[in-house]
Subunit: 425 residues, 2 copies
Amino acid sequence: MNFTKDKLFDFLKEGIWKCIARIGILVRWIVLAGATGVVLGLIGGAFARCITTVTGFRTTHPWMLYLLPVAGLAIVAMYQLDPSRSGTNRILEGISGGKYVPLRMAPLIMISTILTHAFGGSAGREGAALQLGGSIGGTLGKWIKMDEYDQKIMIMCGMSAAFSALFGTPLTATIFSMEVVSVGIMQYAALVPCSIAALTAKEMAILVGAEGEHFTIPSNIPLDVRNITLVIILALLCAAVSILFCSTLHRTEHLYQQHVPNEWIRVVSGALLIILLTKLLHTTDYLGAGMNIIANAIAGEVVPTAFLLKIIFTAITLGCGFKGGEIVPTLFVGATFGCIFGQLTGFSPSLSAACGMVSIFCGVTNCPISSLFLSFELFGFDCMPFFLLAIGIGYLESGYFGLYHSQKILYSKTKLQFINTRTKE
Amino acid sequence: MNFTKDKLFDFLKEGIWKCIARIGILVRWIVLAGATGVVLGLIGGAFARCITTVTGFRTTHPWMLYLLPVAGLAIVAMYQLDPSRSGTNRILEGISGGKYVPLRMAPLIMISTILTHAFGGSAGREGAALQLGGSIGGTLGKWIKMDEYDQKIMIMCGMSAAFSALFGTPLTATIFSMEVVSVGIMQYAALVPCSIAALTAKEMAILVGAEGEHFTIPSNIPLDVRNITLVIILALLCAAVSILFCSTLHRTEHLYQQHVPNEWIRVVSGALLIILLTKLLHTTDYLGAGMNIIANAIAGEVVPTAFLLKIIFTAITLGCGFKGGEIVPTLFVGATFGCIFGQLTGFSPSLSAACGMVSIFCGVTNCPISSLFLSFELFGFDCMPFFLLAIGIGYLESGYFGLYHSQKILYSKTKLQFINTRTKE
């Protein structure tokens, strides 16, 4: 045996140092990601409550809608402060390319999203959460002089924290930041930081009174040939709706930019169009985030054309210059489309609505793992096989379209081949 | 508008063709992955029942253990038919490098695993499932003359199907095949095929009487500072146990090969050592898979040294030439270690055992997403935050060790950096 006392001592010393270094990394992230979670949990929770409050006020004061053009002008005026008109894509580029993520994005997106919701623009809030979280997280990382790699993790922590605070789904929030930038690569180095940030942020958001979303769907639906066939058909149709959603959003934006180059006129014309459509349709269902309509769809009640109208309202709102996310509208479109499919085919409308939500979420974000987690956090684990099929097929059949043009899809959806393509618009 | 009737017609025609092509891909995988699921569900289910039956027989006929050396000789004799002594690593290389996966692996691993379990070797069955599934899936793909990429997907389908049939966890089985080969890359092209194979295989396995595993743990454990601190400490210790487990397994194997070059003598000496240890310890707890001990640990009952003894028994069994998987032993070590941690600290022993299982599973396989899914499929979704922390920290702190030396870890565990390293032994 050539194992002397000295060698054993060296071996132990090295081992102990390695242990300390490893535990040091963990403690560092518990502190930094925890702090990010506290900050963004409080801000995100307050932001969520603001949106709920202004939405409540708008619902009881319908005349607010007539001020939508003014809100639009205010948003355009505010964004004069940000010459690069940063959006969610800027955050993704902050992670993939190390692009600088300005702190001014945070107040800008918060105020403009609240204005959009208060006066009836059709938009979500997760997009706002990603920008808010990404810019604050990234800035914190810069302030404490982290290296380039850790700054990126801080951007991801911020995204996860704000997403979790706003939607109450910490697991989805954790994985979404790791999955969305480069589809096919999982940035596991961010797993612990993002988990800590997301879990902390959720608790903070609850403290300030922002409760997460959870829906109840029936758990006893048999996994038989008929139901499997129906969920496969539903997923195929959802993939088509995903493509329709993405391309309508992007095309409307391009058409606006092309035909109405002046951004002040653009936002006013869009606002007027929203008012006109609302009056023509005699409904306010498509204004704001529409969480109540999502809840109705999951309960089995829906207007057949709801998903199409929501796509149109959202495309106009975001295309003409209002702010907010695309994700809640995605869930709205998925839930209403799924529900109507269920009613027409005799498949449980609640489960259909749930499958539609997560399938289209996957189709437009290209994030199957986040979609799976979202399905469990929103609806529980009982209907997992249906969600798995709806999400897998939604991913496979929705092609290379996507909400974020800064997103990259690294591997083919049909072959084990490296393709490294940007999403189509 | 330059949008003529002809253009519209061409556009529609192209769209319809694209749709048909896309649906064609889906239908093709429903048929092929479904068939793989049926075949491997039946074989895997029958295999699972065989193992249960022989384990039951061994438990009631303790003299079987004395024949372990003979079983070992039989296994060595059988493997003379496979000059390359293929194992799970060969399957991983089949996916990463396109290496040929021989069909003979399937009967060899099945019979040898049954022999190992029947006569009291300490081993699992998932490793067997991966080899069984991978070789049959890959061979099916070759027979129907698929291209190289699709053959790899077929290997993955087979792995997912057999894993799902043996353990009754289709979601984990689906993702594990996609995640384990190159950690950091998610082969989403295989998502739909693997899902279909895994879901089908589970149903088939139930048909032939192989029920999956599910454990009940308390769901009302508060996510407070004390419990979070305890789960973080548990996860740190689990990471250390993961490293100990992997290095003990690999070192024992190397030591055996170095000091006992003759494989006939090696297997007999290992078998004798197992018999001797069993007699010295007056217990048969560490023979076979030990699912009953796992169940006891989750119920809160455990012998303090169980995890260490299981590591030793498994290292001897697999190191000296017996066959079977490393995954059930991993779960055994995790459950018993977690349970004893819970008893010492006052943290719920059941939840501790559950967290220990998935944390060490993650530490030795380096597959955090599969580990998360495993935790939900085995224990439900209620304790998700604890599982998330246990798994994330288990991944981060377990270094670059791993069960499979053909596995690659593509990104650093601590930085967003491409490192492309093989796991350490």
